[in-house]
Subunit: 364 residues, 2 copies
């Protein structure tokens, strides 16, 4: 399926394009192939949960919140397919959840969404299959709409910190395409623009997958927000020239001590921001915060394949026989993170604050 | 011409492959098209100085010392073509030199080689054209062989500073392909290996032209030196893991105060090295030192085209209509440069030393 996707209802993302949506009438998950942007806009329709595992692993969909939402919809699909009794439903759900959970290791949102769907599965397992499936779908949709709302809330919060006139550096894509819609880091940028601030963006191209060049620049261009693409290696040059006023990125996991895992290259941006006295901020929904994870040292860093570095399309960048390293994420220590924006509020790891300050009294 | 090039004499580079050589029998400059590596090994033969201007501008040949040598050979060719009197010889030489000098702005070696050839041109202008051409050729060959000797001398010097067991990070290609032969930064690495040190190399891929992935990895692989390629954005990750013990890069211009211009991304490596307490060193021939240039602020930084960022081969990485920035070089301030190795000796900009300490009493 190509071009603008047809859905049986308005997309929950609230935008013309989206990473992932559910089409209840056809019982299909509709997903944009982000590997083909910006040249081709191709949406796929998936009717089986297994296809979502492949789509996550092969990066048809990427971005921590978006893969959580995709997994939630996969489990909603699973609930439609399994029409047996309570036991078979929970068994099938459990297997599907475990397989989905292994698709990618670093983003905690995946495990978070699966856990939330499992809590719901346990609560609805006894219901007749159609009602059960309906409740599972409603839970996945809630995860999706809450994510969009979270992006808007953290966007408003982050936007207050953006200077009135600012060149903002961002790394990778933490936009509508990485979330349920609106975006985390790009949500901050969109909200700053909505406040009337004079914002221009430098987008790191973000090798090897080029999410900055292909996705972030494309998204901002759609919204008519001024953007220029630079190679990752140029950020230092523009910091040195004093051209960068503010940094904002997304995250795949925030540890209890305020360490932040994000796309490989983020740590280097944070070091440069500190060296040049520029705020380095992170926007992430609460579902990205992992209080079970004491520090960044405990966050599993996905190692992806050599060929994702050595080749690009048909081009051979590194001769056969020569090795490449490919950590897909890195960890930025809390001391370099000026502020983290969530839908619950902000905290400053650099000033010693941890996400725990945002817990409700009941959660503590 | 493809594969191993035929020359009417042994290559002055002293290696199986080379960036640029002169073939006196056929009066041709033979040049490897570095844009096609590592997939294709294609050598071109040029009989006209104008072709060398294009080859430098279009990056068939790159690397500060190599483009200086290419320009010297171009002026030697020019001397063969201009058989008129002293005045026409000097006129033709001057025009050719000015056009060559504008091909690329940042590397001072280009201007240095042209100036040296012009001094020789003035000295030999009165001679019969054949003898004059012979002297010009000899001068270009001297520039070439002296560069190879300089690489070996600075290599020995730098190799002493490499730890007995070391993972060395390098950026771009400062190897045999960037010089007359042997290499500056890769000369240090080759000499460390020759001393029996246990060396492995992490090569930044070096976007946008991927000289690290395509050239540095290929060169080291030919020499059976252990090398792995990383994206530029991964250097911070490996610094953070404590995996990098030493950094060495080349240079396009060293200012009188010890500031160092080099391939875009070098400044970021230097900031990371400082943050992690790793030596950041530079290897460059004396022809790269520009004592007329007080500081890095005076070094012209070449801006290359948008499409070199936005496209790679036939791939579109950034959608049409979206801008890119493309500074091709950056300047690393002296305070971040632990040591500069030249054929005259070493100096430490970080400790306040400048290249002037290597001047002879007569030069001061």
């Amino acid at each position: 399926m190509s071009g603008r996707p047809e859905l049986s209802r308005a997309p929950l993302s609230g935008a013309d394009y989206f990473a992932v949506e559910f089409d209840p009438e056809r019982a299909e998950i509709v997903m944009l192939d982000q590997r083909l942007l910006p040249v081709q806009i191709v949406y796929y329709r998936y009717a089986k949960p297994d296809q979502i595992v492949d789509a996550i692993r092969d990066m048809v969909v990427r971005g921590a919140p978006a893969i959580g939402i995709a997994a939630a919809y996969a489990l909603a699909l699973q609930a439609r397919l399994e029409r047996g009794d309570e036991r078979s439903f929970l068994l099938a759900h459990g297997v599907a959840g475990r397989i989905l959970g292994r698709a990618r290791p670093t983003a905690v949102n995946l495990g978070w969404a699966i856990a939330r769907m499992s809590t719901r599965a346990a609560a609805v397992a006894k219901l007749p299959w159609e009602e059960r499936a309906q409740r599972m779908q409603a839970e996945a949709e809630a995860i999706h709409t809450e994510d969009v709302a979270a992006c808007k809330a953290m966007g408003r919060l982050g936007a207050e910190r953006v200077p009135e006139r600012a060149t903002i550096l961002t790394h990778c894509n933490a936009g509508a395409l990485a979330t349920g819609g609106y975006g985390t880091a790009l949500g901050v940028i969109r909200a700053a623009v909505a406040l009337g601030k004079q914002v221009r963006v430098l987008a790191d191209e973000t090798r090897p997958y080029l999410q900055g060049a292909r996705l972030t620049a494309w998204e901002l261009f759609q919204d008519r927000i001024e953007v220029e693409v630079i190679t990752d290696s140029m950020a230092a040059y523009f910091f040195g020239k004093g051209e960068i006023d503010f940094c904002v990125v997304g995250s795949d996991r925030v540890a209890a001590n305020g360490d932040v895992a994000n796309k490989i290259g983020t740590y280097g941006v944070a070091v440069l921001a500190k060296e040049h006295g520029v705020p380095f901020t992170v926007a992430a929904p609460w579902s990205t915060v992992d209080l079970q994870c004491a520090s960044g040292a405990e966050i599993p860093i996905e190692e992806r394949s050599r060929d994702e570095i050595a080749r690009l399309g048909d081009l051979v960048l590194v001769a056969d026989g020569i090795g490449c390293r490919h950590p897909a994420f890195d960890v930025t220590p809390a001391r370099l993170v000026s502020e983290v924006f969530t839908e619950r509020g902000a905290f400053s790891p650099a000033r010693g604050e941890t996400p725990a300050i945002l817990l409700t009294p009941r959660e503590r």
